[in-house]
Amino acid sequence: METPHTEHLSSVDYEHVYEPAEDSFLLLDALESDLKFLDKLQPRLCVEIGSGSGIIITALAKHFAHTSICLATDINPRACNATKRTASRNGARLDSVRCNLAAALRRRSVDLLLFNPPYVVTSDEELHCQTLMSDQAANSATQRNLVYSWAGGRDGRRVIDILLEQLEDILSPSGVLYLLLLRENKPDEIIKQLANLKFKAVKYMERRIPGEYLYILKVTRDPD
C-alpha cells in the first residue's frame, strides 16, 4: 500500500483535525503487513471510525479500488471534509459520514473496521475542563472536536469501551477489527474483555515510540 499524499492539508487544517503521527503509521503498517489476509477476506464494506485526516481509509480505498465500499466516519465535520479531500487528492473513492462511531450504519454490515481511538489517559476532570475551557474560546466547537480526537478519559478507555460493547452489532459475521491501543489502555485486559464478548483478539503488531508504547489489536469473531 502506498502512503497517501497529505501535502494538501495545512497547519490550519491541523488546528482542527488530528495530524497523522506514529500511531497512524503503525496502523497503516499493520494493514500493509496483513494484506494477504485482507485480500483473502475480500471485504465488501470497509469502515474507519474517526478518520481524521483520512490517510488510513484512503490507503485502503486505493488498495481495494472497485472491489470494496470504503466509508469514513467522524463526529468532527472538518475531519469528514479533510478525509474527502485526502481521498480526492490521491484518486481514491470513498464517502465520509458524520456520525458517532458506527451509529448510522446498518447492523452487522462492516467486514473490515479500523479504529485509532482517542486513547490518551486523561482524568474525567481534565476532559471536562478541556471541553469547558474550549467552550469559552471563540472557536469552541472545533477546539472541542480536537480534544475529542485524543482525550480518552480513565485509562484512555472512554470511547474504546463503548466501541467494544457495540462490536457485536457492527461487525459482519466474517468481520475483522484493527484497533490501535496504548500500553496504558491495558491491552491484556481488553483482550479478556473481548473474549467474554466472544471475540478473539491478538496483539498483531507493537511499536515503541518516544514516550509511548503502541499496539495494534486484531479482533475477529471467536468461531467456538
Binding site: 465488501r44 472491489t67 465500499i69 466509508l71 463526529i75 473513492r93 456520525c99 451509529a103 448510522a104 446498518r106
Partner: protein, 124 residues
C-alpha cells in the same frame, strides 16, 4: 454520497426508533462521476444490499426504468443490469439533499456530499 453508501445508512440509533430503514432520500444536487465497472464486485455485493433501498434510490435518481422493483434471480447472467446497478450505486454522487427517518421524520442534511447523521445527546 454515493447511493451504495445510502444503502447502509439507518436512523436506528434514534431513541425509540425500531427499524429506521430505508431512509427517505431527497436529492437536490448531484454529480455523475464515471468509475470502472467491476461486474464481479457488483455481484458479490448484492447479498449485502437491501433491494428495496436500491430500488428506492433508483426512483429518486430517476433511474427506476433501469432497475426492476423486485430483485431478479440469476442477476449474475444479466451483464446489462449489473452495469446499470454499477451506474446507480457508484457513479451518482449526491452533493446536496437530505435523508429522513421513516419513523420520526428527523431530517439528516447532506451537504458537500457528506450526510450529517450525528444525533444530539437527547435523541439517543
Amino acid at each position: 454520497m454515493k447511493l451504495s453508501t445510502y444503502n447502509f445508512l439507518t436512523s436506528m440509533a434514534i431513541k425509540g426508533v425500531k427499524v429506521g430503514y430505508p431512509l427517505k432520500l431527497t436529492i437536490n444536487k448531484k454529480d455523475v462521476i464515471e468509475s470502472e465497472f467491476n461486474p464481479v464486485f457488483i455481484e458479490r455485493l448484492l447479498p449485502k444490499l437491501d433491494w428495496s433501498a436500491v430500488y428506492g434510490a433508483a426512483q429518486v435518481a430517476e433511474l427506476a426504468e433501469d432497475i426492476p422493483a423486485a430483485q431478479p434471480e440469476n442477476i449474475a447472467e444479466d451483464e446489462q443490469l449489473l452495469q446499470r446497478l454499477h451506474h446507480l450505486l457508484f457513479e451518482i454522487d449526491v452533493l446536496e439533499g437530505q435523508l429522513e427517518c421513516p419513523e420520526t421524520g428527523r431530517i439528516f442534511p447532506i451537504a458537500d456530499g457528506i450526510p450529517n447523521m450525528l444525533l444530539n445527546e437527547d435523541e439517543v
